[in-house]
Amino acid sequence: VAVSAGRPTGEPEPENPLVAGLERLPVAPTTLVIFGATGDLARRKLLPALYNLAHEGALPERFHLVGVSRKEKEDEDYRGECEQAIRRFSRRTPDEDVLNSLLDNVRYVPGTFDEDSVYSELGSVLDEFEEEAGEPLNRAFYLSTAPSFFPVIVGQLGRSQLAQHERGEVRLIIEKPFGTTLEEARELNRAVLGIFDENQVFRIDHYLGKETVQNMMAFRFANGMFEPLWNRNYIDSVQITAAEDLGIGTRADYYDSAGALRDLIQNHMLQLLCHVAMEPPVSFTAEAVRNEKVKVLQAIPEPTAAEIPDMALRAQYAAGHAGGDDVPGYLEEEGVPEGSTTETYAALRLEVDNWRWAGVPFYLRTGKRLARKITEIAVTLKPVPHLAFSQDGSLGVQPNQLVLTLQPNEGVSLSLGAKIPGTRMLIRPVNMEFQYGTAFLSQSPEAYERLITDAMRGDATLFTRNDEVEAQWRICDPIVKAWSPTDAQTPAPPVAGYAAGSQGPKEAEELLRDGDRWRAI
């Protein structure tokens, strides 16, 4: 019998009648351990998120933070770094008293991630907190390190007995990328699941923490008007775009080894596709939602080597213009290796071979240094079967298009045919628009605030399951391989080019079915 928090699983939990009606559900007392505590992600995202949770009174009743990193420093020095990071990156100006309350509970453990002594010291610190609290505290280990350290840390947590806690829950939070190939993802899953149970593992895809992505489920499953149309009988194609106007900035090291396909499509964009294509889950529990998403991924055929040139395209930006300035091409960016073939743009045409979606192309594209920043999902409906209207003298009747914009202005827009005022029956498309920002008073929390809270609460709905990760890689891995040099004699296939600030490579048109076209970015 698996034991969780000293209680056989399956035994019904006694209810807490006090939580009814509360907007914010309780989080059990927890110590959060961040590996890679001095890194960029911790400074820019995790620490500000923790401060904002503290500000709103949303941290657990007992909360401690332990930073683990290679650099030798004292607790006080690390608290100073946390303070600086929070002041610089928090979405609100810190309240001094709240900040001090949070920092009082921060500790630091120095050392490299493979050292036994790091974990014995960490164990002592965790025990000390429990002694002080007089009760067991849940433990959440956040791996905010380079992916190569994931198996090392997981192995050490297992060896040092920190992966289990007789009287509390232990959770493992893993940042992306979860592997860089299918085989790596499988190896990592084996390493992680050799130590932890799947229900202890929370793989972060921060897109899932965005309100906009969560809203997609509300949009589809809380509105009766869309679901009857949401299938191959009425939908002609789906187009998912994640465009950025910026270049790679200072991230050449990471980006050149990842590329657009691994950076966005393998995780975030396939998740968006899942949200568009999934069947209604029987409930919104983690397992029910993730079961439906996995079914979508499994319905996407693994591309064969012969199919890839026709369904996948990669490209790299060349020098061009952005924001009124001249900007360099990818190969001229600082830190990019000479002759790199890493793609800064990727586009795919995928099919979801199931009853609902057979024959409907799903187009995915993402790129750096495109005309503007936008993330959207455009669903094009089939044209009406018969046109009684004249097409002369106007744009005529166009297929309806439903566009869900995720950023920058979250909203929904539906294009409709409308009569142009005048004596003739001329039709042109008009937009019916809804902007989420106009309809809610609340500010959306940062994705990491939501995700850290959910992980501490043990709610895995917004995290990626092991089979989901592997199913995503099953689709992308053949493309990664096809775009890589097979050996020294066989170079990588050529990479298309596009001017910075443009709509992307013209070759992307070749992925489209006859009659389809990319939406303007």
Partner: protein, 368 residues
């Protein structure tokens, strides 16, 4: 009176009519949108505030502080008994210029100056001024119960502060009376939210949930004018934990008594804390039959917690959290008009039952 946001368009007229005001609103919106298409009107909530003109400045100050929780259309009916003429001002404001590719939300404020002679036709004045199909929140911070009764026809939610009435009994009775006709957002209840969240969290770990059934004493210390808030907290525990409320009695500045729980009595003590400078609660102490206790009190940077276990060992710590302040509570009240808290009315019911002898006879009805 405005929300404190930058004013983009203004219209005013003396001796005006509701139709003229509504036409001006439409025209101003068209003008502002034509100037820049990225200006879009917020469409979340109407709020009607009926205020005494002499105190309208104070209300304006309070509303300025609510920031993003400003209702998308605020209709202020500013009342001056002897006024004969209907005057109005319309302001359309945004928080700033729209950034490229982004929207700037517009909020509309309508101030109508009116007198006693207009009260009979108040509904016909307010009705054309609210946005159709948006929920409407009604707030009358200076009393005027008869006006509230009239305007309830336009409203789905009523904002009140049960500590505003002369006595806690009257405050809770007023909330009870209105809760039968609209959704009540009670600021006194919202002041208890962080306390309710923390008490719920303290007993949420699996090992502690059983202890909820062994609570033997509850002490709530409160601002001298916030007895109603303390009553609501006690009522919340009573209703959620299936205790049977009993009337409390006065003991100096405190109300004392008990609730009947399954198998034992729960001692209740609600006590004024004169040192507390702001409305709301000062601290809450819960004791269990086994001798454990937990005190949660206001402190710098969050709630100060002190626990004592069965062996008498004490522990103290701080649970971080920023104070919302009174403007934050008001903003939260506006936001809550769009939600529904199913636990308020049961808590109110239990609180009234506890006050039924302490503050005068009061029949206790049940409503969930």
């Amino acid at each position: 009176m405005d929300s404190g946001a930058r004013s983009d368009a203004v219209w005013s007229e003396q001796g005006t009519t509701p139709d003229a005001i509504e036409a001006a609103l439409r025209r101003l919106l068209v003008d502002v949108h034509a100037e820049n298409g990225n200006y879009v009107p917020a469409r979340v909530l109407n709020m009607i505030a009926f205020v005494d003109r002499e105190w309208s400045g104070e209300i304006a100050n309070r509303l300025r502080g609510v920031g993003r929780y400003h209702a998308s259309r605020l209709v202020v009916l500013s009342y001056e008994p002897h006024r004969e003429r209907l005057d109005a001002r319309v302001m359309i404001a945004s928080d700033g210029e729209p950034q490229p590719g982004e929207l700037a939300l517009l909020h509309e404020t309508v101030v109508v100056e009116l007198g006693e002679r207009h009260l009979d036709d108040l509904l016909t004045i307010a009705d054309p001024l609210v946005v159709t199909d948006l929920p409407t929140l009604l707030w009358s911070p200076h009393g005027h119960h008869e006006v509230v009764s009239e305007l309830l026809a336009l409203s789905q939610a009523v904002l009140l502060d049960s500590v505003d009435e002369p006595s806690s009994q009257e405050g809770l009775d007023r909330a009870w009376e209105l809760s039968d006709q609209a959704y009540v957002v009670d600021l006194a209840w919202l002041r208890t939210t962080p306390w309710r969240e923390r008490v719920a969290a303290s007993f949420d770990p699996l090992g502690r949930r059983q202890e909820l059934r062994t609570i033997s004493g509850v002490t709530v210390r409160h601002h001298p004018e916030s007895t109603a808030a303390a009553m609501l907290l006690a009522g919340w525990l009573t209703s959620r934990l299936d205790w049977t409320p009993q009337p409390l009695s006065a003991d100096g500045d405190a109300l004392v008594g008990k609730a009947l729980a399954n198998g034992q009595d729960v001692a209740l003590r609600l006590e004024a804390a004169p040192e507390l400078q702001v409305r709301g609660l000062e601290d809450v102490t819960l004791q269990t039959a086994s001798g454990r206790s937990l005190l949660l009190g206001r402190g710098p940077g969050g709630l100060h917690a002190r626990s004592r276990d069965e062996q008498g060992r004490e522990r103290e710590w701080t649970i971080p959290g920023a104070s919302r302040g009174e403007t934050g509570v008001l903003g939260e009240g506006i936001r809550q008009a769009l939600l529904r808290d199913p636990t308020y009315v049961p808590a109110l019911t239990a609180a009234r039952a506890m006050l039924s002898s302490a503050g005068g006879a009061n029949p206790v009805a049940t409503r969930s």
